[in-house]
């Protein structure tokens, strides 16, 4: 979208002390965030962290209780109309009309964005092509698969040529194939130049799609940066051990804990343990030695960078790592 360029220096989003309260519940608690344009930004956080409230505030559905939020320079409180002209929202539920065809849904939304009849028809056709919905476009959307419905919903948020696309948990409740479909669509839109903000609690989703990520917890931004910066920010390696005999997993876990000082996590398969290891390679050597001494057979052992999952758990969980400790503070990714 070539016409979408912002004047130099105007951030895509700028939140200063953004606070939203619903009665006694504080959903956003002085959120500070600056995001430059030209990127896919992921908002990460556990359930109830304030992700959806943040998206709804950007989309002018919720008014800030205090603080300020600028979307491409428009204040969400004073210039809500200006914000609405710039955004497209795809919420947590696919808000398409099941008794209408995909094309009818898109044309309706295009008209509601302000397109005339023929412009709406062209916009709908372009979106159908862009999201590969040609085959199902003239079927009622109630007959679509979950992934098709999400893509149609994505399309509906696009027909007005928004500058900023807001996706609130775009793949929640989808099967793996449908998730891939939506991911491909989002990647395509980003490649075509649409700025995208997405919320997710799937970390692989942020890993797949986002350039920048902001971690929100209890209504505040607790870390931000590129996905690899976030991973590097944890500043530690992870030792991962796959035990040959599942019965010995307890013994291996005790060794990991003794050497690294952090509680190991066990994966769903029940044989693979991982623990954050501050000492890195030295710890790995110590673990290998101890496992040999204890006679614990190992299929695989190694040192790796932490996954975003581990970063996330470290940041939001009760492991006593503060943002300051890992060199990431509230505010701009730089």
């Amino acid at each position: 979208m070539s016409a979408a360029t912002l004047p130099a220096g105007v951030p895509l989003l700028e939140a200063r002390g953004l606070t939203v309260r619903f009665g006694k519940v504080t959903a956003l608690d002085g959120l500070e965030l600056t995001a430059p344009p030209g990127q896919v930004l992921a908002i990460l956080g556990p359930n109830g962290a304030g992700k959806t409230t943040f998206v709804r505030t950007i989309a002018t559905l919720v008014r800030p209780t205090a603080g300020e939020l600028l979307v491409r320079g428009h204040d969400v409180g004073r210039d809500a109309a200006g914000v609405r002209r710039d955004i497209g929202l795809a919420g947590q539920f696919a808000a398409v009309e099941p008794t209408m065809t995909g094309r009818e849904n898109l044309e309706m939304t295009a008209r509601l964005f302000g397109h005339g009849r023929s412009a709406a028809r062209r916009a709908a056709a372009a979106v159908i092509e862009q999201l590969s919905l040609e085959e199902v476009a003239d079927r009622r959307s109630g007959t679509y698969s979950g992934g098709q419905r999400r893509r149609l919903d994505l399309g509906a948020s696009l027909v007005g040529g928004p500058r900023l696309l807001l996706l609130d948990e775009p793949t929640t409740g989808l099967d793996p194939v449908s998730r891939r479909e939506v991911w491909d669509a989002v990647r395509g839109l980003a490649a075509a130049g649409t700025d995208i903000l997405l919320t997710t609690h799937y970390l692989d989703e942020a890993d797949e799609l986002a350039d920048q990520a902001v971690v929100i917890d209890h209504g505040r931004a607790i870390a931000s940066g590129t996905v690899s910066e976030l991973k590097a920010g944890i500043g530690r390696d992870v030792i991962e051990v796959a035990v040959a005999d599942a019965a010995r997993v307890g013994a291996a876990g005790q060794i990991l804990y003794r050497v690294t000082g952090s509680s190991p996590r066990l994966d769903a398969g029940g044989r693979r343990l991982s623990a954050i290891a501050p000492a890195g390679p030295a710890a790995l050597a110590a673990v290998i030695g101890c496992l040999e001494d204890a006679g614990v057979g190992v299929d695989e052992i190694g040192l790796r960078r932490p996954t975003l999952d581990e970063v996330f758990l470290t940041l939001t969980g009760d492991e006593a790592t503060t943002p300051a400790e890992i060199g990431l503070v509230n505010g701009s990714p730089q």
Binding site: R56, G91, A95, E97, T99, F113, G114, S132, L166, V177
Partner: protein, 265 residues
Amino acid sequence: MTATQLDVPHVLSRPSGTPSVASASGQVALRALRKYVRTPSLIVMGIVQSALFLFCFRYVFGGAIHAGATSYVDFLVPSYVASIVLFTGGGIAVAVAEDKVQGFTDRLLSLPVPRYSLVFGRTLADSTTNVWSIATTAAFGFLFGFRLPGTWEQGLTALGLCVVYAVVFTVVFIVMGLFAPNAQAAQGMSLIAFIFAFISSAYVPATSMPGWLQPFSKYQPITPMVDAVRSLLSGSTSDVGLALAWSGLLLVICTPIAVLRYRRV
């Protein structure tokens, strides 16, 4: 489904302005009407329900109710048609609550549409479906033995007043739907309308109720509204002013509530 091909970036054009109130309301109404006509169960159930209630009143309870000088069918049908919206209106409240819960209202509010077009569009669509239920119910009335006491013109005037009620109660049910946390609650809330419908002069002469209940029946809006329709049928205008005043009052109260409530769904 194979991987989505998205190699060619498209430039989607931006609309030059925002939609007018008329255009936005039209789109909102068109979608609600499409949903209605494309969901056969809504149409069929609506007709069956109104016919069944009318049948029961006319042939089951009717024999035990004495309506003074007029036959019960001639007493019942005008007020039944006038108050049918109170029975079908639950569907409006449910639809509004569903839109809210399922994210459709959020989508509309995130678009640059004039805020009141949500209420206008919804009212336009639901008034239309209400007029449809008034027409089919009136047809059943004739089928079950109702005959006009006066001229056709008087009959049409009375029907026109029923259409006014259809618009008024559409807005009332929209407000209910907006305050209901979900569709089930909206269905429950719409039962309030039954109280007003039953404790009125719509189906039994108010004088047959116990003395302590008669003031409620007399001073609530449904009684003058149905009495006004009976009056118009026989060429009188008695109660019409009061019925229109109630209609105006309900509209004046509920419309701003609906507009404001839609803003902060």
